[in-house]
Amino acid sequence: MSDAKKIVLAEDNSTLSLLLKFRLEKEGYKLLIAADGKEAIELIGQHDPELILTDIMMPFISGLEVISHVRNKLNKQTPIIVFSAAGQEEMVLKAFNLGANDFMGKPFSPNELVIRVKRLLR
């Protein structure tokens, strides 16, 4: 029976997505990958995941808009972790103001990510 927790990952770097998918699926989660913000919103709408991982800088719809969409339009409290490159503190602050739960600056350790995912999904 599959009651694995679903995670939507919005990341345009395919190699990184693959790595994270591998890692997180080993921990028993189900990963849905979106290559940009638009796809992410669609996946979130379709599958109603337990957790969302999103990069801030993405083609077309930014990570910030994804957060805004989930918190304000969908009115959901799904835990959200954002990734950001160094030097984007302003963006990270905005993400938190919009309702993100945690952030990881790139480069990050996948093991660390797993720990935080587990913590938020407890």
Binding site: N13, L16, L18, L19, F22, K106, P107, F108, S109
Partner: protein
């Protein structure tokens, strides 16, 4: 045959210039035909290459991920991993494939840290990719050398430091830049030592790239920047000023105050901006005393500084300048006044009755 003969005769009898024209016509037609054929071949080749690159990318991506997750506790390199290493090793001599392997490794290397990153590094060595980067350092073509240095920086290969450092004063700008980025990426703030001896100009672009690399590292490591602030190389001074701002180098306060007398206006203005950011009160008096000799840009920067460090003793000075013809200075002065002395601020409404001024006062009042 007759018409053919006709053309030959015609050609022989035509004036020289017409002969030239017809020769060129034939030449052009031949060239155009050749180019059309070549174009078709070129496009097919480009299309094919793209497909192949996508294919290889997928392949190497999964190879990489498998490699990263098939290690075990006992051995340095597990059997599964060795298989992948050997496979990649065989691909690497091919320039095309090598490029795809490197870009795949880098796409991941730049995003993650920790033991995964170290594994990727190991893979870089084990597959022999490093040797190609090293040999490119000896190339005669500048872009090959620059690319090689960049690759070695991205894979954090400290071992080759000696071979790279010799290029520090290379006549080519791009190579020098890559060397600087290498030093800073690998040795963090220590790598900035090249600033001590830099003769050439550090462009804004270079400075920003260096700063962006430095951002990733622990701020505590920043060395004493005073020598750089006193450098004869103006671009080094500007870079040091940026450092003092980003890393809040209050210790450099005195040297920064000295820079208010620097011969270049740009440096003086940047110094004022940093002193404003660091809220250095001493700067206020120095600049206030020679306000009228300052250039307009310095004056504007000074007022921005005043917005941060104003005191009630500045009231008389401010009052002299609320009617300054420069918009930004006027706004700054009025803004400060509103905070300093609200009644006097209201009294200005009568004094500054011109519509543009009234607009400014109203805006400041409400915001």
């Amino acid at each position: 045959m007759k018409s053919y003969q006709y053309f030959i005769d015609y050609f022989k009898n035509a004036p020289a210039i017409i002969q030239v024209v017809w020769v060129m016509i034939v030449l052009f037609m031949v060239i155009i035909t050749i180019l059309i054929i070549y174009l078709k071949l070129l496009r097919s080749r480009l299309r094919k290459n793209e497909k192949i690159v996508a294919q290889y990318q997928n392949e190497y991506e999964s190879n990489l991920i498998t490699y990263l997750y098939s290690g075990n506790e006992e051995e340095e390199v597990s059997a599964e991993q060795q298989l992948i290493v050997d496979k990649l090793k065989s691909c690497v001599p091919d320039k095309f494939k090598r490029r795809v392997v490197v870009s795949t490794l880098l796409r991941l290397r730049n995003e993650i840290s920790g033991e995964m990153a170290e594994s990727i590094q190991k893979l870089y060595f084990q597959t022999g990719l490093i040797n190609y980067a090293l040999s490119s350092l000896k190339s005669k073509k500048w872009y090959v050398v620059a690319k090689g240095i960049r690759e070695l920086a991205q894979f954090h290969v400290k071992e080759v430091n000696d071979q790279i450092v010799i290029h520090v004063n290379n006549p080519n700008k791009e190579i020098r830049k890559e060397v600087q980025l290498y030093l800073v990426t690998l040795f963090h703030f220590e790598g900035l030592k090249f600033l001590d001896v830099l003769q050439t100009h550090l462009s804004e672009w270079d400075q920003i790239q260096l700063l962006e690399v430095l951002q990733r590292f622990d701020e505590q490591e920043i060395p004493n920047i005073n020598p750089w602030l006193k450098s004869k190389n103006d671009s080094v001074v500007i870079f040091a000023i940026k450092l003092s701002k980003i890393y809040n180098q209050f210790e450099a306060k005195d040297t920064l105050l000295e820079l208010l007398e620097h011969q270049h206006k740009k440096i003086r203005v940047e110094a004022i901006q940093v002193l404003s950011h660091l809220q250095v009160y001493e700067a206020k008096e120095v600049l206030k005393n020679k306000f009228n000799e300052l250039s307009l840009e310095e004056q504007i920067a000074f007022f921005k500084l005043l917005e941060n460090v104003f005191e009630s003793s500045d009231e008389t000075f401010l009052q002299e300048h609320i009617q300054h013809k420069n918009f930004e200075i006027k706004v700054s002065a009025l803004k400060i006044f509103k905070l300093l002395n609200i009644e006097k601020f209201h009294s200005f409404k009568r004094l500054l009755s011109a519509p543009k001024d009234a607009e400014i006062i109203e805006f400041i009042e409400n915001n």
